[in-house]
Amino acid sequence: MKLAAKKDSELAEKLMEVEKMLEKYKGQKGALLQVLQEAQKIVGYLPIEVQKRVAEALNVTLSEVYSTVTFYSFFNLKPRGKYQIRICLGTACYVKGADKVLSRLEQELGIKVGDTTDDLKFSLDACRCVGACGLAPVVIINDDVYGRMTPDKVPEILKNYE
C-alpha cells in the first residue's frame, strides 16, 4: 500500500507548524473538522503524518480522522498536482457534454475526480459554472482556459503539460 507523502524535509517544517496549531485543541474531539481544515491550510493536503498528529492531539482514532477526511470533498489526501485541472460541470457545460470530457480526462490520467496522479503532475477537480458558458464545455488547467472541449481534444491538450 502506497501512502502519498512528500519528501520528509519539505514536510517536516510544515508538520512543526501543524503541531503548534494543534496545541490549542488538545483533547477536543469535537474540533476535528476545524482542525483538519487548518491543517490543510498549512500543509496544502492531509498526508497520513498529519492525520496521525491530529488523532493523537484530539484523542480520536486515526480511522476516525481518515473517515472524516475521505467523507468531505474539500479535503485532499495527496498534494495537489503541478498542473491543476478543473472541469466545469455547470449546467451549460454539462448539457454540452462535459461529463464525456470528464470521463476521458479520468481515463487519460488514470485517476478519479478529486484525485492526483501518482507522479504528482496532475490533479483533477470538478467545479461549478466559471462564467464562460459561451465557451461550454470548459476545462481550466492552472491559468489556461480551454473552451468547446470534446473528449478527443483531451490527449492533445494534456501534451502541452509534459
Partner: protein
C-alpha cells in the same frame, strides 16, 4: 422514575421517560424489525428499517432512537410503514452479493431473515453494485465488503467496546466502504484480532479465517497423530449450535463427538490452564517477594497481548511471561507427551478448539515454536468445529458422555473458570493463597471478581498482607483500568485482562446471536454462570491439586519457573506501532 404513557397500535403502554419507541414496543411483545440497532453498542438510527408512524410527525420515524413522550400515538404496522421498510430492504438487497447457500451466515443472517419476515417476494430495484473488497490477509479476520450493508455495528464495537478503532466508513455516498485507513488490510493496521466485530455483524461481511481444510487434511492423513485441546469456554457454547440452549454444558459430549470425527486423542485446555496457574502463581510470588515489576498482568488473552503491544507498550514488562494455556499445551504436547508416548513430534498435529479468533494469530507468532515445531498447528473457532461436525453428520446433542483422554485431559475447576472474566484471577488466588500460607483456603469462591461489571476489584489477605487485585474485560475497560494505573489513581498487585467482554465465553469465535436475541439475553452472563457450574461440579478445584500437572513436574519440568519451564512455557513481547507507516515517494 418519571413514567410516560403512550399507545402503540392502540394498546396502552407505560414506560420510564427516555425509553425509545422500539423498547416500549418490545415491552408489549411487538416486533419492529431492526438492522443497524445493536443494544448498548450501536444506536445511531442509520438504516431506517425500524420506521414507525408517530401521530403528528411529518415523516416516518426511526423507532430505535426516537424517545417516547406523554400521550404519543404510535403505529407500527400501517401500509406506509410496511412499504417503507420493504423499499429500504429491497434497496439493500439490490446492492448485495446474494449468495446465501454458500455464505458463512446462511440461516444465521439478519438480512436474510428480514427478507423472510417482511415478505419480500421480488426485488424491484436493479443497478450497479458497489465496488467490493475481499480482505483475507489477516490470520484471524476476513472482510468481504460485497456483503456489507454499512450498518456500522462493527465500527461501534471496535471503537467503543474494544477501544481499538481500526475500521470506519471511509469515503462517501455510493463509494462508502467500512475499512481500515487507506483501505488497507486488517493485517496492516493495529487490529488485535479479537473478532468482536464478527459477533456484531448482522451478515456475512465479517468472518473468521477458516482453517477447517487444514484439519480435515490432517484427520485424513494416517501418518498424523491428531490431537485436540478444548478451551474452557467452548464447553458452554458449542451446544448452542446444536439447539441445546444458551450456555448448555456439553463437556462430556465433546470428547465423544471429536473421537467420531477422527481425532486420535481428545485433551483439555483446562489441563494447560492449571499448568498456567502453577507458573503464573509462582511468578506472582516471585515478583511480590523479590521486588519484581508490579502489577503483574495476566497474559492468557492474545487479543489483549496484541493490544498491549500496540497501544500500551509501557506495560509490556508488567505482562506475565507465561504463555497462554493454548500455547503451553502445544509446547507440552510436542515434547513431554511425544516422549512419553514415543511419538515423533513432527507427526503430532495439535488442533485447538477455541472461542477465539486471536488464537489463530497467536499460534503463528514466531515465539510459539518451543518444541522445534509450530507448537499448535491449527486453531478452530467454536463455529468452525460446529460446521465440521455438521458436515460429518455428527449431532453433538445426541452424543453419549465420554471422558477426555489422559494425561493432558485431566483438569480442575480452577482451569475451567479461565473461560469467564475474573476466572484466571480466582484460580490464581486459590493456588497462591495455599502455596504461601500452607493452609487450606476456606472459601474458594471469590465472588467479588465474578460477573459482568466492566472493572472489578478485590483485596485479599494473604499471610497478613493485603493483596489488591483488579479484573477488566473488553478492551475499552482495559484502557480505563490501565490509565488509572498509569495516572497512579489506583495501585494493584495483580491484574487480569481479557480482550473480550465477558471473558472467553464472549469470545469472537463463539456462536453468533442476532441483535434481537442480544436484546433479550445477556449471553455472556448465561455462559459465565455455566462455567461456574462446571467448576462447582469438579472434584478438584485448585490447580496445584491437579495430579497430571504434578506428574508433569515430577517427570519432566522439575519445578515451576524452572529451566525447562522457561524454555517451553514462557515467552516475551514486542512493542508494535500504533499506526501504519507511510512509504516515501
Amino acid at each position: 422514575m418519571e413514567m410516560v404513557n403512550l399507545t402503540i397500535d392502540g394498546e396502552k403502554v407505560q414506560v420510564p421517560k427516555g425509553t425509545t419507541i422500539l423498547e416500549a414496543a418490545r415491552k408489549i411483545g411487538k416486533k419492529i424489525p431492526t438492522l443497524c440497532f445493536l443494544k448498548g453498542v450501536n444506536e445511531i438510527g442509520a438504516c431506517r428499517m425500524c420506521v414507525v408512524e408517530v401521530k403528528g410527525a411529518r415523516a416516518l420515524q426511526a423507532s430505535c432512537v426516537y424517545p417516547v413522550s406523554e400521550g404519543m400515538e404510535v403505529y407500527t404496522n400501517t401500509p406506509a410503514v410496511r412499504e417503507a421498510r420493504k423499499v429500504t430492504l429491497e434497496l439493500l438487497l439490490s446492492d448485495h452479493n446474494l449468495e446465501c447457500p454458500t455464505c458463512v451466515r446462511n440461516l444465521n443472517c439478519e438480512l436474510q431473515k428480514l427478507a423472510e419476515e417482511l415478505g419480500i417476494k421480488s426485488i424491484r430495484f436493479t443497478g450497479e453494485k458497489h465496488k467490493a473488497k475481499y480482505d483475507d490477509f489477516s490470520p484471524s479476520i476476513v472482510r468481504d465488503t460485497s456483503k456489507c450493508i454499512l450498518c456500522r455495528r462493527c465500527v461501534s464495537t471496535c471503537h467503543n467496546v474494544q477501544g481499538v478503532g481500526v475500521i470506519s466508513p471511509n469515503h462517501r455516498g455510493f463509494e462508502t466502504m467500512v475499512a481500515p485507513v487507506y483501505d488497507m488490510s486488517l493485517a496492516e493496521v493495529a487490529c488485535v484480532n479479537c473478532g468482536q466485530c464478527i459477533l456484531a455483524c448482522p451478515v456475512g461481511a465479517l468472518k473468521e479465517k477458516e482453517d477447517t481444510d487444514k484439519v480435515w487434511q490432517a484427520l485424513q492423513d494416517p501418518e498424523k497423530h491428531v490431537i485436540a485441546q478444548i478451551a474452557p469456554a467452548v464447553r458452554v457454547s458449542l451446544g448452542e449450535e446444536f439447539g441445546l440452549g444458551r450456555g448448555a454444558i456439553v463437556t462430556k459430549k465433546i470428547p465423544a463427538a471429536l473421537r467420531r470425527l477422527g481425532f486420535n486423542r481428545v485433551f483439555d485446555t483446562d489441563f494447560a490452564a492449571d499448568l498456567t496457574i502453577m507458573e503464573e502463581g509462582h511468578e506472582f510470588l516471585e515478583r511480590l517477594q523479590h521486588g519484581g515489576k508490579l502489577p503483574l498482568i495476566t497474559s492468557c488473552s492474545p487479543g489483549w497481548i496484541k493490544f498491549c503491544e500496540h497501544y500500551y507498550p509501557e506495560f509490556l514488562e508488567n505482562l506475565s511471561t507465561c504463555k497462554s494455556p493454548q500455547q503451553m499445551f502445544g509446547a507440552v504436547a510436542k515434547t513431554y507427551y511425544a516422549q512419553k508416548m514415543g511419538i515423533d513430534p513432527s507427526k503430532i498435529f495439535v488442533v485447538s478448539i477455541m472461542p477465539c479468533t486471536a488464537k489463530k494469530y497467536e499460534c503463528q507468532r514466531p515465539e510459539m515454536r518451543s518444541s522445534g515445531y509450530q507448537d499448535v498447528d491449527a486453531v478452530l473457532t467454536t463455529r468452525e468445529i460446529s460446521r465440521m461436525l455438521k458436515e460429518a453428520g455428527i449431532n453433538l446433542a445426541a452424543m453419549p458422555d465420554e471422558e477426555f483422554d489422559e494425561p493432558l485431559g485431566i483438569s480442575t475447576g480452577a482451569g475451567a473458570i479461565f473461560g469467564a472474566t475474573g476466572g484466571v484471577m480466582e484460580a490464581a488466588l486459590r493456588t497462591v493463597y495455599e502455596v504461601v500460607t500452607g493452609k487450606e483456603l476456606e472459601n474458594i469462591e471469590f465472588t467479588s471478581i465474578r460477573g459482568v461489571e466492566g472493572i472489578k476489584e478485590a483485596t485479599v489477605e494473604i499471610n497478613g498482607m493485603n493483596v489488591n487485585v483488579a479484573v477488566a474485560h473488553g478492551l475499552a475497560n482495559a484502557r480505563k483500568l490501565l490509565d488509572r494505573v498509569k495516572n497512579k489513581e489506583a495501585e494493584y498487585h495483580f491484574i487480569e485482562i481479557m480482550a473480550c467482554p465477558g471473558g472467553c465465553v464472549g469470545g469472537g469465535g463463539q456462536p453468533i446471536l442476532s441483535a434481537d436475541e442480544r436484546f433479550e439475553v445477556d449471553y455472556r452472563a448465561v455462559r459465565g454462570s455455566a462455567i461456574y457450574e462446571v467448576d462447582r461440579k469438579m472434584p478438584l478445584r485448585k490447580s496445584h491439586e491437579n495430579p497430571a500437572v504434578k506428574q508433569l513436574y515430577e517427570e519432566f519440568l522439575g519445578k515451576p519457573l524452572g529451566e525447562k519451564s522457561h524454555e517451553l512455557l514462557h515467552t516475551h513481547y514486542t512493542p508494535r506501532p500504533r499506526y501504519p507507516e507511510a512509504e516515501e515517494k
